[in-house]
Symmetry: C2
Subunit: 223 residues, 2 copies
DNA sequence: GCGTTCAAGACCTCCGACGTATCAGGTCAT
DNA sequence: ATGACCTGATACGTCGGAGGTCTTGAACGC
Protein backbone atom coordinates (compact mmCIF):
# COMPACT_ATOMS: atom_id res chain seq x y z
CA UNK A 1 0.00 0.00 0.00
CA UNK A 2 1.22 3.48 -0.81
CA UNK A 3 2.48 5.67 2.01
CA UNK A 4 -0.27 8.19 1.35
CA UNK A 5 -2.94 5.55 1.70
CA UNK A 6 -1.30 4.39 4.89
CA UNK A 7 -1.41 7.94 6.17
CA UNK A 8 -5.11 8.18 5.33
CA UNK A 9 -5.76 5.01 7.25
CA UNK A 10 -3.67 6.11 10.21
CA UNK A 11 -5.40 9.48 10.46
CA UNK A 12 -8.73 7.74 10.10
CA UNK A 13 -7.94 5.31 12.89
CA UNK A 14 -6.72 8.13 15.10
CA UNK A 15 -10.13 9.72 14.73
CA UNK A 16 -12.18 6.54 14.98
CA UNK A 17 -10.25 5.39 18.04
CA UNK A 18 -10.83 8.69 19.75
CA UNK A 19 -7.21 9.79 19.86
CA UNK A 20 -8.35 12.72 17.75
CA UNK A 21 -11.76 14.10 18.59
CA UNK A 22 -14.05 16.47 16.69
CA UNK A 23 -12.60 19.96 16.78
CA UNK A 24 -9.13 18.79 17.72
CA UNK A 25 -6.17 20.28 15.99
CA UNK A 26 -3.70 18.05 14.21
CA UNK A 27 0.05 18.47 14.66
CA UNK A 28 1.49 20.73 12.03
CA UNK A 29 2.20 19.16 8.68
CA UNK A 30 5.93 18.76 9.17
CA UNK A 31 5.54 17.12 12.58
CA UNK A 32 2.70 14.85 11.56
CA UNK A 33 4.64 13.84 8.48
CA UNK A 34 7.62 12.94 10.64
CA UNK A 35 5.41 11.04 13.10
CA UNK A 36 3.78 9.00 10.36
CA UNK A 37 7.08 8.48 8.59
CA UNK A 38 6.52 10.15 5.26
CA UNK A 39 7.23 13.38 3.49
CA UNK A 40 5.22 16.50 3.87
CA UNK A 41 4.10 16.31 0.24
CA UNK A 42 2.69 12.84 0.60
CA UNK A 43 1.01 13.72 3.88
CA UNK A 44 -0.60 16.70 2.21
CA UNK A 45 -2.18 14.36 -0.34
CA UNK A 46 -3.74 12.38 2.49
CA UNK A 47 -4.96 15.49 4.26
CA UNK A 48 -6.39 16.90 1.05
CA UNK A 49 -8.32 13.71 0.39
CA UNK A 50 -9.79 13.67 3.90
CA UNK A 51 -10.55 17.33 3.53
CA UNK A 52 -12.61 16.71 0.39
CA UNK A 53 -14.96 14.42 2.27
CA UNK A 54 -15.18 16.86 5.17
CA UNK A 55 -13.28 14.81 7.70
CA UNK A 56 -10.60 17.45 8.11
CA UNK A 57 -10.81 21.21 7.90
CA UNK A 58 -7.62 22.89 6.73
CA UNK A 59 -7.13 26.57 7.47
CA UNK A 60 -4.18 28.31 5.91
CA UNK A 61 -2.09 30.18 8.41
CA UNK A 62 -3.84 28.49 11.30
CA UNK A 63 -3.79 24.71 11.29
CA UNK A 64 -5.65 21.54 10.40
CA UNK A 65 -8.62 20.48 12.49
CA UNK A 66 -10.96 17.53 12.75
CA UNK A 67 -14.45 18.64 11.69
CA UNK A 68 -17.51 18.15 13.85
CA UNK A 69 -18.08 14.85 12.03
CA UNK A 70 -21.79 15.58 12.02
CA UNK A 71 -23.73 13.20 9.79
CA UNK A 72 -24.98 16.30 8.03
CA UNK A 73 -21.48 17.42 7.22
CA UNK A 74 -20.15 14.06 6.17
CA UNK A 75 -23.09 13.15 4.00
CA UNK A 76 -22.73 16.53 2.34
CA UNK A 77 -19.89 14.90 0.46
CA UNK A 78 -22.54 12.59 -0.95
CA UNK A 79 -23.88 15.31 -3.18
CA UNK A 80 -20.41 15.76 -4.65
CA UNK A 81 -20.36 12.10 -5.56
CA UNK A 82 -23.92 12.12 -6.80
CA UNK A 83 -23.09 14.91 -9.23
CA UNK A 84 -21.08 12.44 -11.26
CA UNK A 85 -24.02 10.25 -12.10
CA UNK A 86 -25.47 10.59 -15.51
CA UNK A 87 -29.12 11.06 -16.30
CA UNK A 88 -29.77 7.40 -16.90
CA UNK A 89 -29.47 6.69 -13.20
CA UNK A 90 -31.66 9.58 -12.10
CA UNK A 91 -34.63 7.24 -12.03
CA UNK A 92 -32.87 4.98 -9.54
CA UNK A 93 -32.09 7.93 -7.29
CA UNK A 94 -35.66 9.06 -7.58
CA UNK A 95 -36.90 5.59 -6.65
CA UNK A 96 -34.87 5.73 -3.46
CA UNK A 97 -36.15 9.19 -2.73
CA UNK A 98 -39.64 7.92 -3.29
CA UNK A 99 -39.09 5.46 -0.49
CA UNK A 100 -37.43 7.84 1.94
CA UNK A 101 -39.36 11.04 1.50
CA UNK A 102 -42.84 9.73 2.31
CA UNK A 103 -41.44 7.95 5.35
CA UNK A 104 -39.68 11.10 6.49
CA UNK A 105 -42.80 13.16 5.93
CA UNK A 106 -44.84 10.70 7.97
CA UNK A 107 -42.29 10.86 10.78
CA UNK A 108 -42.42 14.63 10.67
CA UNK A 109 -46.18 14.57 11.15
CA UNK A 110 -45.73 13.60 14.76
CA UNK A 111 -42.47 15.36 15.52
CA UNK A 112 -42.38 18.66 13.70
CA UNK A 113 -42.91 21.70 15.90
CA UNK A 114 -45.50 24.43 15.44
CA UNK A 115 -42.72 26.93 14.85
CA UNK A 116 -41.33 24.84 12.02
CA UNK A 117 -44.79 24.53 10.51
CA UNK A 118 -45.26 28.28 10.69
CA UNK A 119 -41.93 28.79 8.99
CA UNK A 120 -42.94 26.46 6.17
CA UNK A 121 -46.25 28.22 5.76
CA UNK A 122 -44.55 31.60 5.63
CA UNK A 123 -42.15 30.26 3.04
CA UNK A 124 -44.98 29.11 0.78
CA UNK A 125 -46.79 32.41 1.25
CA UNK A 126 -43.69 34.36 0.28
CA UNK A 127 -43.45 32.50 -2.98
CA UNK A 128 -46.83 33.65 -4.23
CA UNK A 129 -49.02 31.97 -6.83
CA UNK A 130 -47.00 32.46 -9.98
CA UNK A 131 -43.31 32.10 -9.15
CA UNK A 132 -40.57 31.65 -11.67
CA UNK A 133 -39.51 28.10 -12.30
CA UNK A 134 -36.12 28.66 -10.71
CA UNK A 135 -37.70 30.15 -7.59
CA UNK A 136 -40.15 27.29 -7.39
CA UNK A 137 -37.51 24.61 -7.59
CA UNK A 138 -35.36 26.38 -5.02
CA UNK A 139 -38.39 26.70 -2.77
CA UNK A 140 -39.25 23.09 -3.41
CA UNK A 141 -35.86 21.98 -2.17
CA UNK A 142 -36.12 24.21 0.88
CA UNK A 143 -39.63 23.01 1.63
CA UNK A 144 -38.71 19.36 1.61
CA UNK A 145 -35.55 20.07 3.52
CA UNK A 146 -37.62 21.74 6.22
CA UNK A 147 -40.02 18.83 6.48
CA UNK A 148 -37.34 16.19 6.59
CA UNK A 149 -35.54 18.23 9.19
CA UNK A 150 -38.75 18.00 11.16
CA UNK A 151 -38.44 14.23 11.16
CA UNK A 152 -35.67 14.63 13.70
CA UNK A 153 -33.30 12.24 11.97
CA UNK A 154 -30.23 14.08 10.74
CA UNK A 155 -28.91 11.10 8.80
CA UNK A 156 -32.17 10.87 6.92
CA UNK A 157 -32.10 14.58 6.38
CA UNK A 158 -28.61 14.64 4.90
CA UNK A 159 -29.25 11.59 2.78
CA UNK A 160 -32.32 13.08 1.17
CA UNK A 161 -30.48 16.32 0.68
CA UNK A 162 -27.79 14.51 -1.24
CA UNK A 163 -30.27 12.53 -3.29
CA UNK A 164 -32.38 15.53 -4.19
CA UNK A 165 -29.56 17.34 -5.89
CA UNK A 166 -29.40 15.34 -9.12
CA UNK A 167 -33.13 15.56 -9.69
CA UNK A 168 -33.06 19.32 -9.43
CA UNK A 169 -32.12 19.82 -13.04
CA UNK A 170 -34.86 17.43 -14.05
CA UNK A 171 -37.42 19.38 -12.08
CA UNK A 172 -36.42 22.63 -13.67
CA UNK A 173 -36.73 21.02 -17.03
CA UNK A 174 -40.16 19.74 -16.12
CA UNK A 175 -41.30 23.13 -14.91
CA UNK A 176 -40.31 24.63 -18.22
CA UNK A 177 -41.99 22.05 -20.39
CA UNK A 178 -45.06 20.92 -18.48
CA UNK A 179 -47.75 23.55 -18.25
CA UNK A 180 -49.48 22.70 -15.01
CA UNK A 181 -46.38 21.53 -13.14
CA UNK A 182 -46.01 24.77 -11.19
CA UNK A 183 -49.59 24.97 -10.02
CA UNK A 184 -49.68 21.30 -9.20
CA UNK A 185 -46.50 21.51 -7.15
CA UNK A 186 -47.89 24.42 -5.16
CA UNK A 187 -51.13 22.57 -4.51
CA UNK A 188 -49.31 19.48 -3.33
CA UNK A 189 -47.08 21.48 -1.04
CA UNK A 190 -50.14 23.03 0.60
CA UNK A 191 -51.70 19.60 0.95
CA UNK A 192 -48.61 18.13 2.61
CA UNK A 193 -48.45 21.06 4.98
CA UNK A 194 -52.12 20.71 5.87
CA UNK A 195 -51.65 17.03 6.63
CA UNK A 196 -48.72 17.87 8.88
CA UNK A 197 -50.79 20.45 10.74
CA UNK A 198 -53.47 17.81 11.24
CA UNK A 199 -50.75 15.49 12.58
CA UNK A 200 -52.07 13.00 10.05
CA UNK A 201 -49.08 10.82 9.26
CA UNK A 202 -50.80 8.67 6.68
CA UNK A 203 -52.16 11.61 4.75
CA UNK A 204 -48.76 13.27 4.84
CA UNK A 205 -47.12 10.10 3.60
CA UNK A 206 -49.60 9.73 0.78
CA UNK A 207 -49.27 13.31 -0.39
CA UNK A 208 -45.50 13.01 -0.35
CA UNK A 209 -45.74 9.83 -2.40
CA UNK A 210 -48.05 11.47 -4.88
CA UNK A 211 -45.75 14.45 -5.07
CA UNK A 212 -42.71 12.41 -5.97
CA UNK A 213 -44.54 9.87 -8.08
CA UNK A 214 -45.78 12.60 -10.38
CA UNK A 215 -42.23 13.70 -11.04
CA UNK A 216 -41.16 10.11 -11.52
CA UNK A 217 -43.96 9.37 -13.93
CA UNK A 218 -43.23 12.43 -15.99
CA UNK A 219 -39.54 11.61 -16.06
CA UNK A 220 -40.18 8.02 -17.08
CA UNK A 221 -42.41 9.07 -19.93
CA UNK A 222 -39.89 11.61 -21.14
CA UNK A 223 -36.63 9.65 -21.15
CA UNK B 1 -9.96 29.24 -4.05
CA UNK B 2 -6.80 27.17 -3.88
CA UNK B 3 -5.32 25.89 -7.11
CA UNK B 4 -5.82 22.32 -5.95
CA UNK B 5 -9.51 22.91 -5.36
CA UNK B 6 -9.74 24.51 -8.76
CA UNK B 7 -8.12 21.44 -10.25
CA UNK B 8 -10.65 19.20 -8.50
CA UNK B 9 -13.48 21.25 -9.92
CA UNK B 10 -11.98 21.29 -13.38
CA UNK B 11 -11.47 17.55 -13.46
CA UNK B 12 -14.97 17.08 -12.12
CA UNK B 13 -16.45 19.30 -14.80
CA UNK B 14 -14.46 17.50 -17.47
CA UNK B 15 -16.12 14.30 -16.36
CA UNK B 16 -19.61 15.69 -15.82
CA UNK B 17 -19.54 17.49 -19.17
CA UNK B 18 -18.55 14.32 -20.93
CA UNK B 19 -15.12 15.47 -22.07
CA UNK B 20 -13.80 12.60 -19.98
CA UNK B 21 -15.88 9.46 -20.02
CA UNK B 22 -15.85 6.38 -17.79
CA UNK B 23 -12.75 4.34 -18.51
CA UNK B 24 -10.97 7.19 -20.24
CA UNK B 25 -7.36 7.79 -19.47
CA UNK B 26 -6.23 11.18 -18.23
CA UNK B 27 -3.18 12.92 -19.68
CA UNK B 28 -0.07 12.11 -17.72
CA UNK B 29 0.50 14.10 -14.56
CA UNK B 30 3.00 16.50 -15.99
CA UNK B 31 0.85 17.32 -19.02
CA UNK B 32 -2.38 17.66 -17.09
CA UNK B 33 -0.64 19.87 -14.56
CA UNK B 34 0.59 22.10 -17.35
CA UNK B 35 -2.86 22.18 -18.96
CA UNK B 36 -4.55 23.17 -15.72
CA UNK B 37 -1.83 25.63 -14.87
CA UNK B 38 -0.47 24.24 -11.63
CA UNK B 39 2.42 22.19 -10.37
CA UNK B 40 2.54 18.44 -10.48
CA UNK B 41 2.53 18.27 -6.69
CA UNK B 42 -0.67 20.25 -6.37
CA UNK B 43 -2.32 18.28 -9.15
CA UNK B 44 -1.44 15.06 -7.37
CA UNK B 45 -3.36 16.28 -4.32
CA UNK B 46 -6.43 16.80 -6.48
CA UNK B 47 -6.08 13.40 -8.13
CA UNK B 48 -5.54 11.68 -4.80
CA UNK B 49 -8.70 13.25 -3.38
CA UNK B 50 -10.79 12.17 -6.37
CA UNK B 51 -9.21 8.76 -6.12
CA UNK B 52 -10.34 8.34 -2.51
CA UNK B 53 -13.98 8.74 -3.51
CA UNK B 54 -13.51 6.40 -6.47
CA UNK B 55 -13.87 8.95 -9.22
CA UNK B 56 -10.40 8.27 -10.52
CA UNK B 57 -8.37 5.09 -10.56
CA UNK B 58 -4.64 5.63 -10.39
CA UNK B 59 -2.38 2.77 -11.50
CA UNK B 60 1.30 3.15 -10.92
CA UNK B 61 3.37 2.59 -13.99
CA UNK B 62 0.31 2.75 -16.18
CA UNK B 63 -1.78 5.88 -15.92
CA UNK B 64 -4.79 7.53 -14.33
CA UNK B 65 -8.26 6.53 -15.48
CA UNK B 66 -11.83 7.60 -14.88
CA UNK B 67 -13.62 4.80 -13.07
CA UNK B 68 -16.85 3.26 -14.33
CA UNK B 69 -18.71 5.78 -12.15
CA UNK B 70 -21.19 3.06 -11.24
CA UNK B 71 -23.46 4.07 -8.40
CA UNK B 72 -22.21 0.97 -6.65
CA UNK B 73 -18.62 2.13 -6.87
CA UNK B 74 -19.24 5.72 -5.92
CA UNK B 75 -21.49 4.95 -3.00
CA UNK B 76 -18.85 2.54 -1.80
CA UNK B 77 -17.09 5.63 -0.57
CA UNK B 78 -20.10 6.10 1.65
CA UNK B 79 -18.99 3.32 3.93
CA UNK B 80 -15.67 5.07 4.41
CA UNK B 81 -17.49 8.15 5.60
CA UNK B 82 -19.92 6.18 7.70
CA UNK B 83 -17.04 4.61 9.59
CA UNK B 84 -16.38 7.94 11.23
CA UNK B 85 -19.71 8.12 12.96
CA UNK B 86 -19.80 7.43 16.62
CA UNK B 87 -22.11 4.94 18.24
CA UNK B 88 -24.63 7.53 19.29
CA UNK B 89 -25.74 8.00 15.71
CA UNK B 90 -26.11 4.29 15.00
CA UNK B 91 -29.78 4.53 15.87
CA UNK B 92 -30.30 7.17 13.22
CA UNK B 93 -28.60 5.01 10.62
CA UNK B 94 -30.69 2.09 11.72
CA UNK B 95 -33.86 4.17 11.41
CA UNK B 96 -33.00 4.93 7.80
CA UNK B 97 -32.26 1.31 7.16
CA UNK B 98 -35.60 0.43 8.70
CA UNK B 99 -37.24 2.56 6.05
CA UNK B 100 -35.23 1.33 3.08
CA UNK B 101 -34.83 -2.35 3.74
CA UNK B 102 -38.53 -3.29 3.96
CA UNK B 103 -39.19 -1.27 0.81
CA UNK B 104 -36.32 -2.97 -0.98
CA UNK B 105 -37.51 -6.38 0.18
CA UNK B 106 -41.01 -5.66 -1.07
CA UNK B 107 -39.62 -4.58 -4.43
CA UNK B 108 -37.60 -7.76 -4.59
CA UNK B 109 -40.72 -9.85 -4.09
CA UNK B 110 -41.84 -9.08 -7.61
CA UNK B 111 -38.47 -8.76 -9.31
CA UNK B 112 -36.08 -11.31 -7.86
CA UNK B 113 -35.36 -14.29 -10.08
CA UNK B 114 -35.76 -17.94 -9.20
CA UNK B 115 -32.02 -18.41 -9.53
CA UNK B 116 -31.37 -15.69 -6.99
CA UNK B 117 -33.91 -17.25 -4.64
CA UNK B 118 -32.24 -20.62 -5.00
CA UNK B 119 -28.88 -19.06 -4.23
CA UNK B 120 -30.26 -17.46 -1.08
CA UNK B 121 -31.79 -20.73 0.02
CA UNK B 122 -28.54 -22.55 -0.56
CA UNK B 123 -26.74 -19.93 1.42
CA UNK B 124 -29.02 -20.36 4.42
CA UNK B 125 -28.72 -24.14 4.16
CA UNK B 126 -24.96 -23.95 4.14
CA UNK B 127 -24.95 -22.02 7.37
CA UNK B 128 -26.67 -24.75 9.37
CA UNK B 129 -28.66 -24.37 12.56
CA UNK B 130 -25.96 -23.41 15.02
CA UNK B 131 -23.50 -21.10 13.29
CA UNK B 132 -20.92 -19.01 15.07
CA UNK B 133 -21.91 -15.43 15.71
CA UNK B 134 -19.33 -14.15 13.25
CA UNK B 135 -20.54 -16.49 10.53
CA UNK B 136 -24.11 -15.52 11.20
CA UNK B 137 -23.47 -11.81 10.93
CA UNK B 138 -21.44 -12.29 7.77
CA UNK B 139 -24.24 -14.42 6.35
CA UNK B 140 -26.78 -11.86 7.48
CA UNK B 141 -25.04 -9.14 5.51
CA UNK B 142 -24.77 -11.37 2.47
CA UNK B 143 -28.40 -12.40 2.72
CA UNK B 144 -29.71 -8.88 2.80
CA UNK B 145 -27.32 -7.84 0.09
CA UNK B 146 -28.70 -10.61 -2.10
CA UNK B 147 -32.27 -9.56 -1.51
CA UNK B 148 -31.66 -5.88 -2.09
CA UNK B 149 -29.78 -6.77 -5.24
CA UNK B 150 -32.94 -8.55 -6.28
CA UNK B 151 -34.79 -5.25 -6.05
CA UNK B 152 -33.02 -4.23 -9.23
CA UNK B 153 -32.06 -0.78 -7.99
CA UNK B 154 -28.30 -0.47 -7.74
CA UNK B 155 -28.44 2.87 -5.96
CA UNK B 156 -30.66 1.39 -3.29
CA UNK B 157 -28.36 -1.59 -3.10
CA UNK B 158 -25.23 0.46 -2.56
CA UNK B 159 -26.89 2.77 -0.12
CA UNK B 160 -28.06 -0.05 2.10
CA UNK B 161 -24.66 -1.64 1.84
CA UNK B 162 -23.07 1.50 3.16
CA UNK B 163 -25.61 1.91 5.91
CA UNK B 164 -25.35 -1.67 7.06
CA UNK B 165 -21.68 -1.41 7.86
CA UNK B 166 -21.88 0.57 11.08
CA UNK B 167 -24.55 -1.65 12.53
CA UNK B 168 -22.47 -4.75 11.97
CA UNK B 169 -20.54 -4.36 15.19
CA UNK B 170 -23.77 -3.85 17.05
CA UNK B 171 -25.20 -7.04 15.62
CA UNK B 172 -22.17 -9.05 16.65
CA UNK B 173 -22.45 -7.65 20.11
CA UNK B 174 -26.11 -8.56 20.19
CA UNK B 175 -25.43 -12.09 19.07
CA UNK B 176 -22.96 -12.49 21.88
CA UNK B 177 -25.17 -11.12 24.60
CA UNK B 178 -28.70 -12.06 23.64
CA UNK B 179 -29.41 -15.74 23.93
CA UNK B 180 -32.06 -16.30 21.30
CA UNK B 181 -30.78 -13.77 18.79
CA UNK B 182 -29.17 -16.40 16.56
CA UNK B 183 -32.19 -18.66 16.36
CA UNK B 184 -34.52 -15.72 15.87
CA UNK B 185 -32.41 -14.30 13.07
CA UNK B 186 -32.39 -17.63 11.27
CA UNK B 187 -36.16 -17.98 11.62
CA UNK B 188 -36.73 -14.49 10.28
CA UNK B 189 -34.45 -15.08 7.32
CA UNK B 190 -36.42 -18.19 6.41
CA UNK B 191 -39.67 -16.27 6.75
CA UNK B 192 -38.47 -13.47 4.47
CA UNK B 193 -37.32 -15.99 1.90
CA UNK B 194 -40.62 -17.82 2.03
CA UNK B 195 -42.51 -14.58 1.46
CA UNK B 196 -40.30 -13.81 -1.54
CA UNK B 197 -40.97 -17.25 -2.99
CA UNK B 198 -44.68 -16.61 -2.58
CA UNK B 199 -44.17 -13.29 -4.38
CA UNK B 200 -45.97 -11.78 -1.42
CA UNK B 201 -44.62 -8.23 -1.24
CA UNK B 202 -46.52 -7.21 1.87
CA UNK B 203 -45.45 -10.26 3.84
CA UNK B 204 -41.87 -9.73 2.75
CA UNK B 205 -42.03 -6.09 3.77
CA UNK B 206 -43.47 -6.94 7.14
CA UNK B 207 -40.92 -9.61 7.92
CA UNK B 208 -38.12 -7.28 6.94
CA UNK B 209 -39.54 -4.61 9.23
CA UNK B 210 -39.83 -7.06 12.08
CA UNK B 211 -36.31 -8.23 11.43
CA UNK B 212 -34.80 -4.77 11.71
CA UNK B 213 -37.12 -3.53 14.41
CA UNK B 214 -35.98 -6.29 16.72
CA UNK B 215 -32.39 -5.15 16.36
CA UNK B 216 -33.45 -1.55 16.83
CA UNK B 217 -35.45 -2.32 19.93
CA UNK B 218 -32.64 -4.27 21.49
CA UNK B 219 -30.17 -1.52 20.68
CA UNK B 220 -32.43 1.15 22.10
CA UNK B 221 -32.85 -0.73 25.34
CA UNK B 222 -29.13 -1.32 25.64
CA UNK B 223 -27.67 2.12 24.99
C1' DG C 1 5.83 -19.98 -31.05
C1' DC C 2 7.04 -18.95 -26.43
C1' DG C 3 9.33 -17.26 -22.53
C1' DT C 4 12.78 -13.90 -21.07
C1' DT C 5 14.99 -9.55 -20.92
C1' DC C 6 15.13 -4.83 -21.16
C1' DA C 7 14.01 -0.08 -21.86
C1' DA C 8 10.53 3.47 -22.06
C1' DG C 9 6.72 5.57 -19.87
C1' DA C 10 4.02 6.87 -15.85
C1' DC C 11 3.15 7.20 -11.24
C1' DC C 12 5.53 7.45 -6.26
C1' DT C 13 8.24 9.73 -2.91
C1' DC C 14 11.09 12.97 -1.25
C1' DC C 15 13.61 17.46 -0.57
C1' DG C 16 14.23 22.34 -0.13
C1' DA C 17 12.63 26.83 -1.04
C1' DC C 18 9.54 30.55 -1.18
C1' DG C 19 4.71 32.62 -1.08
C1' DT C 20 0.59 33.68 1.62
C1' DA C 21 -2.72 33.82 5.34
C1' DT C 22 -3.62 33.86 10.32
C1' DC C 23 -2.87 34.97 14.99
C1' DA C 24 -0.66 36.87 19.06
C1' DG C 25 1.80 40.33 21.17
C1' DG C 26 3.71 44.81 21.37
C1' DT C 27 3.47 49.75 20.16
C1' DC C 28 1.43 54.04 19.92
C1' DA C 29 -2.18 57.46 19.74
C1' DT C 30 -6.40 58.70 21.92
C1' DA D 1 -6.74 52.46 30.29
C1' DT D 2 -8.41 51.41 25.78
C1' DG D 3 -8.45 50.95 21.13
C1' DA D 4 -6.33 50.61 16.52
C1' DC D 5 -2.32 49.39 14.10
C1' DC D 6 1.97 47.13 13.11
C1' DT D 7 5.01 43.25 13.15
C1' DG D 8 6.96 38.83 13.83
C1' DA D 9 6.18 33.94 14.37
C1' DT D 10 3.67 30.15 12.76
C1' DA D 11 1.44 27.08 9.58
C1' DC D 12 -0.55 26.05 5.35
C1' DG D 13 0.00 26.78 -0.10
C1' DT D 14 2.73 26.22 -4.17
C1' DC D 15 6.49 25.18 -6.83
C1' DG D 16 10.53 22.78 -9.41
C1' DG D 17 13.53 19.12 -9.52
C1' DA D 18 15.66 14.58 -8.49
C1' DG D 19 15.52 9.73 -7.94
C1' DG D 20 12.76 5.47 -7.16
C1' DT D 21 9.32 1.85 -8.35
C1' DC D 22 6.00 -0.38 -11.12
C1' DT D 23 3.65 -1.63 -15.59
C1' DT D 24 3.77 -2.37 -20.19
C1' DG D 25 5.20 -3.83 -24.51
C1' DA D 26 8.64 -4.62 -27.77
C1' DA D 27 12.99 -6.84 -28.85
C1' DC D 28 15.56 -10.84 -28.25
C1' DG D 29 17.02 -15.63 -27.81
C1' DC D 30 15.59 -20.35 -27.42
Amino acid sequence: MAVTDEAIEKIKSMIVSGALRPGDRLPKESELAADLGLSRNSLREAVRALSLIRILDVRQGDGTYVTSLDPQLLLEALSFVVDFHRDDTVLEFLAVRRILEPAATAMAASRISEQQLDALTAQLDRLGDTPSVEDLVACDLEFHRGIVHGSGNSVLCSLLDGLSGPTTRARIWRGLTQEDAVARTLREHRAILAALRDRDAEAARSWATVHIASVEQWLRSTL
